[in-house]
């Protein structure tokens, strides 16, 4: 999540809202956000229902403005790839 914060301005310039999700409690998320100065929301998926809804483990979804999944990145998120996909989406190339 710290890596997202480092590139947050780039994501925001491309109209992207970053949202982190884990099963940690809100209290833990708040401590974590404060410690690393995270300025994007962290969702508490305490009962794992969102994880089940989206059906995978460590994964990042890129969702367009119409709510359609346009890119799925499994494993550790790579900002460079995600930003590149966003640029392409904005330019209507993909």
């Amino acid at each position: 999540m710290q890596a997202f914060q480092m590139d947050l301005e780039k994501f925001e310039k491309l109209d992207a809202q970053v949202v982190g999700i884990s099963t940690d409690s809100i209290a833990t998320h708040e401590k974590f956000s404060k410690e690393y100065d995270l300025t994007f929301p962290l969702v508490s998926d305490g009962d794992g229902s969102l994880k089940r809804l989206y059906g995978r483990g460590r994964v990042t979804y890129l969702i367009d403005k119409k709510g359609i999944i346009r890119f799925i990145q499994e494993g550790v998120p790579e900002n460079r790839t995600l930003l590149e996909k966003l640029r392409k989406l904005q330019n209507g190339k993909q």
């Binding site: 809100i26 460590r58 979804y61 367009d64 999944i69 346009r70 799925i72 989406l89």
Partner: protein, 64 residues
């Protein structure tokens, strides 16, 4: 022969949904509303104005 093809087709129809449950590119992202560090957020609220980078991760205070 005809019966066995029918059987395979019927079986496939019932078995496939459970296999293809995982989301794919071009699928509609499932709607959700959840508690976050910035209050209750819902996917619906972002749509129309923002792309959403929805990042599932294991736990806070872990590397990466």
């Amino acid at each position: 022969m005809k019966h066995s093809i029918m059987f395979i087709m019927i079986t496939a129809f019932f078995v496939t949904p459970s296999i293809t449950l995982a989301l794919n590119v071009n699928d509609k992202a499932p709607q959700f509303e959840a508690e976050s560090t910035e209050g209750t957020i819902s996917l619906q609220n972002y749509l129309g104005q923002n792309y959403v980078v929805l990042a599932f991760y294991y736990a806070d205070f872990t590397p990466v």
